[in-house]
Symmetry: C2
Subunit: 151 residues, 2 copies
Amino acid sequence: MKKTVFTLAAVAAVIGTVAVAQDYSANLKARQGQFRILALNIGILGGMAQGKIAYDAEAAQRAADSMVAVTHIDPGPLWPEGSDNMSIDGTRAMPSIWDENADFLAKWGALGEAAAGMQQVAATGQEALGPAMGKLGGACKACHDKHRAPE
Amino acid sequence: MKKTVFTLAAVAAVIGTVAVAQDYSANLKARQGQFRILALNIGILGGMAQGKIAYDAEAAQRAADSMVAVTHIDPGPLWPEGSDNMSIDGTRAMPSIWDENADFLAKWGALGEAAAGMQQVAATGQEALGPAMGKLGGACKACHDKHRAPE
């Protein structure tokens, strides 16, 4: 009887120390989808800023509004601890996102501010898009440089 | 020389009649990611409504706010014409989305209203979640029944 208890305890210890492969695919698809939505709308605004897409004030406003909407999504459920690129496949999210979470959240907040800045000016004219895009690109890059692994 | 011109015209005619496989993967990933974000947050609110997750007013509010944020994303760039399940692989989006676009957009709007309803009550208590979840589920189902192909 004692041996059985010991064996169960040993199994429990092994389960505890070996990382159990939890399924984070739903979280990954959600957060990667979020960046896809941002990218689609950045593509519209960037295309207009560069003159590759005809400037359309209403379409620019909708794209900026969509980006702001994405920045209002709570990052918590999308970024569960353990879903970093050292623990699972299919992500470039570095452990620093959780190890330096305040920095990550500050950078997410900075993206929100840059998107809000674009929202303010998107419908005011094509020439306003470039500077606002620069701030958006800077916010993206700051987080990617620090918290995203190279491909 | 005339023969060359004819040949080029013939090639152009072939290109024009054979459907050119346009790459909608970025659009698909964005719109499917959008539903993944909704699903994650519905999971939180549904789990609390059913008592499977401990009710937490702040977490419930954040989940509801996130759903409302998603419903503020402009559907236009996510649903380009030609990205239906009769035209491309990897989607269950039926042609009716474009053929009856006003109906599709009304159903998207109804989801926005249901999410706003959840946002109003999510922090008021666990017992408020069930009825609000029912309306959300109804909005999801109405669109899926009409515009999403079975798996």
